[in-house]
Subunit: 152 residues, 2 copies
DNA sequence: ATACATGCAAACTATTTGCAAAAGA
DNA sequence: TCTTTTGCAAATAGTTTGCATGTAT
């Protein structure tokens, strides 16, 4: 699926949920679709504020929460405070370096299958719980940090 | 494994890493082993400050970070700011309600197997990355919140 | 003995909030 | 039109830090 389709599909989700398509929401959504750098709120704000004056942090926060609630993006923990975001088009999980905080996308062909299994088990053990999504993270040390830490 | 063994085993990990066994660390660790309420920093502080005067928030923060770094406890996201913690004796994952933030432990017999698979895939796709742990969360709506939201 | 840990309070920073003005539908 | 959204600035809350004191080993 190309990024145009992905964008249109996301906009459709917004419309279905009766939220207004504002320019701010459009550029933030586009930014997230086109950048796979797992940006923080501030990274997004700084990248867009130049071309789009009068963009406020509050709006970035609002939009990100909205997109996350609609399962268009997911939130990732950030090593030193704050959070980061990732457009969640193709299901994948994340490898996170415990030393530098670097986040890498890990594609997993069997993700949907695993997701279904996790939901089933959850519903079994917590009757009545209605799962909407699952999130997986693998923590460890990235290549660079291993090298750095060995030199000490 | 009973809670005495779990405690001794955790203390052994602390000793192996040459951190001092202070009374503060002991009572915080014991609290986490004996309470499966996924406490916040403040919950832990308030529960212990009564019997242990002069306990400071800073020490609770320090200790929790230490225990997390040593993979004795894991950190969980909290709905409205802050984080929560869980002693990670038997591997399990968590069901988190998106509406009220309630966290439930979900036991998964095949967890170690899945954990191994996730690590392998991560190492394959991010050569050089050295995994230390994985974390899985299933988000959704708990039974109570579904009922509440339907009444609206 | 001495390096490490603690307690306190102040500092910091990410995030939220209230409200008037702006603008989608 | 009229409800939702935005921008701004102030407020809030979670977490960290600096340093003198205390303590585990």
């Amino acid at each position: 699926m190309n990024s145009e389709n992905v964008y249109d599909q996301s906009i459709a989700i917004l419309k279905k949920n009766k939220v207004r398509i504002t320019p701010q929401r459009q550029i933030i959504l586009k930014y997230l679709i086109n950048h796979h750098n797992h940006p923080s709120v501030e990274t997004i704000y700084e990248a867009l504020a130049n071309d789009f004056s009068n963009l406020s942090m509050a709006t970035v926060y609002n939009t990100l929460r909205l997109l996350e609630d609609l399962n268009i993006i997911i939130q990732l923990p950030n090593k030193d405070g704050g959070v980061r975001f990732d457009f969640f088009g193709e299901p994948h999980f994340h490898a996170i370096c415990e030393n530098c905080g670097k986040i890498t996308d890990i594609k997993y062909p069997k993700y949907s299958q695993l997701d279904q299994e996790l939901r089933d088990i959850t519903s079994q053990q917590d009757p009545g719980f209605k799962p909407t999504k699952s999130k997986i993270e693998v923590y460890g040390l990235c290549k660079d940090c291993q090298a750095k830490l060995n030199h000490k």
